[in-house]
Symmetry: C3
Subunit: 143 residues, 3 copies
Amino acid sequence: MSTSKAHTEYLTVKTRERYEMLHLTPQVEAIVRRSGIHDGLCFVSPMHITAAIYVNDNEDGLIEDISVWLEKLAPRNPAYKHHRTGEDNADAHLKALLLHHETTLPVTHGRLDLGTWQRIFYAEFDGQREKRITVKVLGVTKD
Amino acid sequence: MSTSKAHTEYLTVKTRERYEMLHLTPQVEAIVRRSGIHDGLCFVSPMHITAAIYVNDNEDGLIEDISVWLEKLAPRNPAYKHHRTGEDNADAHLKALLLHHETTLPVTHGRLDLGTWQRIFYAEFDGQREKRITVKVLGVTKD
Amino acid sequence: MSTSKAHTEYLTVKTRERYEMLHLTPQVEAIVRRSGIHDGLCFVSPMHITAAIYVNDNEDGLIEDISVWLEKLAPRNPAYKHHRTGEDNADAHLKALLLHHETTLPVTHGRLDLGTWQRIFYAEFDGQREKRITVKVLGVTKD
């Protein structure tokens, strides 16, 4: 009989730039292996409200296209009401909402069950300081 | 040995306004505690297609910024094809798609494992009537 | 005592058109039933980076509105940097990011626990070739 299990780890990241995309697939894959979970789901999310997780291609041109596109749809500008609090990062909240703050990924045969080109990215929109990312694997161990 | 468990509750909400953001964190946290689940995932979603769930800051200025931004990207206007059915809420469907209709949250040590500023919001875009929200916690109980 | 279980199936789709929305609810519902899982979560995601999954109304006018809206927010045009690789589908990546590449759905009493109008759609933005969709049900069987 298979046994249910949950396994949690926290990654800490600090980007050099205010806006930056970090490729996370190898770190998440390593956590899935350490979990010992054979079949289940892997949840990945920053513990912050100015960053997101997305799954797409690890191709530099596309990563630049995504950044330009996010700036067009959720521009950095000083007219946000949130800035009355002294903050200047309302655009970071909107960009994070656009990409969604979490993703769930399938785990099959003890590995991330991703398609050929699917890669996990951490999208930072207010960086240059330490941020934490939760990775939680939930599922069943091998019979 | 830990035992796997699922626990489901439904919240009913009715906003005063057609467009409104409701802070849900305390209600979801209470459901997580009642579930008795120690480690797992908590799924939150409206059972409707004109509302969304999002996770971000509980700051009034930012909540207004999000509403203005959604109206810019998915404006209410009478030219939608969906309105041929007699409906007038196509923009509500698009706004809901933009924020995503569901979220998953981590549960650790029997509590929502959120970052300092992460709060759960129900985003209503066609309110003034009763709507239901599903909250399902899936995970393992304490050993 | 309930037993935890994971059940995975892969759907293969091939759209006639480059851009097309496919209604998937019956296929996903059938997988949930075959899983034998009584209570849990159902994960649905394409294994591709130019397609998405969304949940909304099965109404032709609205489906057209969604397509027009996506083209407005993430237009097909030749100026993307990703196109330097020889690809011409950067817009498909952006459209997929906008709708999110995966969704999680609740399973209660052995069935998808959806609201009256909630339907699952596969959103293809670079079709006319075979694509795979992962459906994974995780939860507990009946006592």
